[in-house]
Symmetry: C3
Subunit: 325 residues, 3 copies
């Protein structure tokens, strides 16, 4: 693997076009914190599979268009070259593109919207990074959440864009328990896998396996944390009596998966105390996800990865010496 | 009083168990900024009276469970010992416990929820303190508000937890004036006292007197500020024509009481200009309380002490030299 | 012009009363970033014209009362003299007064509300300035937005204040396309001008011309940016298919106008790259305006200049070297 990546790196050093592809692939990889073009390529394969299998190839196109637009914008804005090359200006863009193409009906205005959204995501990334630098906090996917929320909310004010797949506005009301739905072994595995694939807004077990492969080629610990986080999220949601459709569709689990990877492997050195801390954060992200789902009910937009951002920032800010004995 | 506290302190120095009790009592005392175990004990007596008299002993249990869980979590996370010993990691926890047990129907899941909420309140406290350190701002009860809002909102997404005592979701609409309700002397005194007891989510005049006693044993100025703040809040709310039930139940006054104590005695040296400044902040907290009540109407959750946190931060940030001549 | 201003300045140096008038005029001028008493006087003339022509002279009175109350409060709080003299403590106040008198029915309680709101806007200004100093960010109109939102929301909780001209609470729903309304040349010009006058909550073409004159006497570049921003906003809103009434009334354009002036002339040195960057920000402010309009639908309050504040902060934070070659 390493020699493969080394060969690719020397190829990129000789060609601007290949370097551009490399930067965009790393941008896709950074959605799950992996600065690795192979991870990005596998993630892209998963997005492609998930989009085409679900009959929405435009979602793949939206993601590709957005990551390229974001990278070009970052180049035009002359951001810091090392961060650019590591894909840090691409991951919010690709998510903006995937989300817009998922929730808004396709058409020329949508693609213009995607390009503007991706460009603004770069500005938002730089803004967030400067804002959180004082606390050594990473920007995470906050730029994606902020820009996409604004873009999705605005569709309700524009005749040119139809948020066809957005939820309808509802009234906050006590939870209606569904007829007893047993979470058997099959559904449990499905819920776990889809919690991983929904990080990229995909509900596909095969895509989930490709995402895990993409994680594993760069960090086996990250792949383990993702699976462990997904399992913990499903168990927590089930214990609290959350709606089965949300659980089995992975919609309560994708934010916790990101929290688990971030707190358990990326920003802390793995260990027993770190694992316990990350588990608390992961379980609380399930609560936060449910809370955001409720809070956004009157606004008719999805929570995206806001619960992950909020809880992970909350758990990173304390700067605890968790890995000391 | 001082010798009593000194004896208690030397007892605590010899016993881990007594020290643990001391830290938890101080945690309760810090809800109203008092680093004093006797204040905490009196506050606890008030909580006990208010809970048992209202037929909801589980609220007392929730508060006790939460403060102990918060202290244990803080020890496990190895927070700064001096702050821990001063009770600064307990006050948000006890409030989380009181609020959850007040609004959610009791049961095993509720107690698990309280323990998780109290543990996360410690993380949120450390996060908030690190965040606001750059401006020398205290965390106040922001961790309590943030964590409790998430936990309460999430109950609408879980069949296992029933927010039985939460408000119903409503639509924001012009205020319907009630049939002329005269705020006579008796109701005025009740409104003032309940504004104090509602700091701990209690609607009881006797509890209010115990809270005032708990303040007075550590700071007579704080007790005076609490009463003055409550009176000012009731007058302001009445002048603006707020609903009588909210006024007489103390529900527009508890945040202003905290603002008055914080701005008038804890974070500024008392004096004439400080009193005027604190009065402006206290009166504006009534407006903020009404505003939060309205803003949270569609979300069916209570404002908690968010108005106090917002206005007190706003009035502390300017770093004015109010006590200079 | 310069000699006129110099004469005025020497007059002010000899008279406390004239200095007080000067400070208040500059306060009005700072709503659009102009530290110039003549700009303030022309803006005031525009407000007067717009208020009286629309049959709401109380709005003019509210603005005047508020700016005076804000200046007096700032003096009492002994803020930094140079900033005070530049009008930096007045512009949020005048906007609070204009907004309250626009949306709330007149009466003695309204004027008390305006005075308190203006006083608190000074505290909020100082708080915001201290908060954003670490990033060298200007406070913009954030204090106005925060204080006015709280004051307007609270009217729904008070019988004494009637938010007669506030929007009704609605449910977020897909946009209903209006019968094809062609944006002909006349409507286009109207939409552009009203986008400028709505910065001061006025829907008047003559007021708009007075505002432009007030800009031009201090900064021709600012006047050009305002017109260019308004045109770009109208085109963007039209291209996205926004409701014609909002466009032709200038209600989607006033925040973008402020963004254009701020990003294009005040905080960046004008140039080609800066113009492109400001244009992106201005177009995105139209999206943000639509998004805030939707998000505030359940809360029945207007967005005010929140979209401008959010987007301008987002575009200022990156500290890009846009004016370098």
């Amino acid at each position: 693997m390493k020699s493969l990546l080394a060969s690719w790196e020397s190829l990129c050093a000789t060609s601007g076009a290949l370097r551009f592809i490399d930067v965009n692939l790393r941008g896709v990889g950074q959605v799950m914190f992996q600065d690795n073009p192979l991870s990005g390529a596998l993630f892209l394969a998963a997005i492609a599979w998930g989009s085409i299998a679900a009959g929405v190839p435009q979602v793949l196109f939206g993601g590709l268009l957005a990551v390229v637009a974001a990278t070009l914008t970052a180049q035009w804005l002359r951001v810091e070259p090392a961060s650019l090359r590591a894909g840090l200006y691409g991951f919010n863009g690709v998510l903006v593109g995937l989300a817009l193409a998922t929730f808004v009906a396709p058409g020329p205005l949508l693609w213009a919207y995607v390009v503007v959204g991706a460009a603004v995501s770069v500005v938002a990334m730089e803004a967030t990074a400067n804002l959180t630098k004082a606390w050594s906090l990473p920007a995470l996917t906050f730029p994606f959440v902020l820009v996409t929320w604004l873009l999705l909310l605005a569709t309700y004010g524009f005749a040119g864009l139809s948020g066809a797949a957005l939820p309808s506005a509802g009234v906050v009301a006590p939870f209606q328990s569904m007829a007893a739905t047993r979470l058997d072994a099959g559904l449990f595995v499905q819920a776990t896998l889809l919690s991983i694939s929904q990080v990229f807004l995909k509900g596909s077990a095969i895509a989930a396996l490709l995402f895990l492969a993409g994680l594993a080629v760069n960090s086996v610990a990250a792949a383990i944390a993702a699976v462990a986080g997904a399992i913990l999220a499903v168990i927590t949601a089930h214990a609290l009596g959350a709606e089965s459709d949300l659980i089995t569709g992975g919609l309560l689990g994708f934010s916790p998966v990101l929290t688990a990877v971030a707190l358990g492997t990326v920003f802390n050195r793995p260990g027993l105390r770190v694992a316990a801390y990350a588990a608390l954060g992961t379980a609380f992200t399930v609560v936060a996800q449910a809370a955001f789902n409720v809070a956004l009910t009157p606004l008719a937009i999805p929570a995206l990865t806001a619960p992950f951002v909020l809880v992970t920032w909350m758990f990173l800010l304390p700067r605890l010496a968790l890995d000391k004995r």
